[in-house]
């Protein structure tokens, strides 16, 4: 057994309080890989990047920088499980690195609370940790229940991947890291049109009908690929594609449904922790995952 590695965990709002099964699955999977997540009480809302930015961008980047500064004090790399939080911290960190004037202005504000931001922090998402730090070989060793015969559609979501200069992901249009993680479980990756298109969620506060038109298009294209389930990283994408799926499918086929799993749940299942996923599914999945999990078979 190698020594455990600890990351500073940036929790945000959605995952810990609305979708805690994300955190539970992620922690369980990471533990198998000798990784611990340590929260810091100094963190607050990232703030979210889809509406707060448009209320006051200067306030957004300042609050984000405060969170980055708190992370810097931990001396550890920071991982945000939520794509919105990750995007906010990564973009703010990048802007601080690139813009000395902005950095100076923000540090004047942070001085009032005894903090300072340098821009030296490494901000990661779950794909950086799993694909980059842990590596596919190591994960493969933990796969006790291969998902052979199943096909999954990776939905990356926009804010996890873009902009590349801040996110340090592999590709803005054809990212592959989640594909690789699906393959490691023994499953097949579904091929579908518009791999990187948006779930639609960001415009629900301004135009819900348009948002669900986009969600419907997204699900229809995935349906055509014959995927057994959609795999997501982002809690907002999850809410849109899973919790609100009926509003989208009503636009093209009210009878149709497709399970959506958080990437951490997928890996947990393949690592033999199916029971945990099933017990959380009752509360946090509206689309039944039972039939899908039966296909996997075997005791959990």
């Amino acid at each position: 057994m190698s020594k455990a590695k600890t990351y500073t965990y940036f929790p945000g709002c959605m995952i810990p309080f609305r979708l805690p099964h994300f955190e539970m699955a992620a922690r369980a999977v990471l533990k198998r890989l000798d990784i611990e997540l340590e929260a810091n009480p100094g963190h607050a809302c990232c703030p979210e990047p889809t509406t707060f930015t448009g209320v006051d961008f200067d306030a957004w980047v300042t609050l984000a920088a405060r969170n980055v500064a708190v992370s810097e004090t931990t001396g550890l790399e920071t991982v945000a499980l939520c794509s919105g939080c990750f995007h906010t911290l990564a973009v703010a960190n990048h802007m601080i690195q690139e813009d000395e004037k902005l950095k100076g202005r923000i540090n004047e504000r942070l001085k009032t609370v005894g903090l300072k931001v340098t821009g030296d922090l490494t901000v990661k998402n779950i794909l950086h940790v799993l694909h980059g730090d842990v590596g596919l070989e190591r994960i493969k060793k933990e796969i006790t229940h291969p998902l052979t015969g199943l096909k999954f559609a990776p939905h990356y979501g926009c804010h996890l991947v873009r902009p590349l200069e801040a996110t340090h992901m592999d590709d803005a249009e054809q990212p592959m890291w989640m594909d690789d993680l699906i393959e490691v479980t023994g499953a097949e990756v579904a091929e579908f049109e518009d791999k990187m298109s948006c779930c639609g969620a960001p415009i629900t506060p301004s135009d819900e009908d348009k948002a669900f038109t986009l969600t419907a298009q997204r699900i229809e294209k995935i349906r055509a690929s014959g995927a057994d389930a959609i795999i997501v990283v982002c809690p907002t994408c999850y809410t849109q594609l899973e919790m609100q799926q009926k509003k989208a499918t009503a636009k093209f086929d009210p009878e149709y449904s497709i399970p959506v799993l958080y990437l951490g749940e997928l890996l947990a299942i393949a690592m033999g922790m199916k029971d945990m996923v099933i017990s959380n599914a009752r509360r946090y999945h509206r689309v039944k995952v039972g039939p899908l999990l039966e296909k996997i078979g075997g005791a959990a």
Partner: protein, 175 residues
């Protein structure tokens, strides 16, 4: 056709150019690849990122009163395809910010901003959420430092602005 609405006052354009990453506006030569890449434009032809950029270039502040700026997904598909890497969603964000005083902000966005300032989170955390975390074996996360949020934002004065601003944003479909 280019119709210049306001020739005398470059305030909006100059303000945008002063903001971080705002100067990327000047690299736009109106090729329109943003619009052809945009998933919202694909379902609503009144949403046209190229024309939004044109308005900012021409200092046409009427853009900040348009509800349409808030139907940008911030998906950055336009930016990925832009040959000049103009920060298009960011420039639209600046147009949204500029529209706050006039109330061109969806109610949902104001509510979230107020929640963040008041409680340090976008959502209200209740007892049952905390109990659920405990049952799931997840650690207590404590209370966000709301006083620090107030302190670092003091100079910006957002809390004051949010006290008075009222959303006149209709929301829903196009007008």
């Amino acid at each position: 056709m280019v119709v210049l609405r306001s020739t005398s006052d470059l305030a909006f354009r100059n303000w945008v150019l002063e903001q971080p990453e705002g100067e990327t506006l000047l690299r736009c030569y109106q090729c329109g690849r943003c619009t052809s890449a945009c998933p919202v434009a694909a379902i609503d032809n009144s949403f046209n990122p190229r024309l939004f950029l044109q308005k900012i270039l021409l200092a046409d502040e009427s853009l900040t009163e348009e509800q349409l700026v808030w139907t940008c997904l911030t998906c950055e598909q336009c930016e990925v395809r832009c040959p000049e890497h103009v920060k298009i969603p960011h420039l639209l964000i600046l147009a949204k910010v500029r529209g706050l005083v006039g109330g061109n902000t969806p109610q949902g966005a104001l509510d979230r901003a107020r929640a963040i300032l008041a409680g340090g989170r976008t959502i209200m955390v209740n007892e049952s959420m905390l109990k659920t975390r405990d049952k799931m074996g997840l650690p207590d996360l404590g209370q966000p430092p709301v006083d620090q949020i107030a302190s670092v934002l003091k100079e910006i004065g957002l809390a004051k602005k949010l006290e008075t601003v009222e959303s006149v944003y209709g929301g829903g479909s196009n007008e």
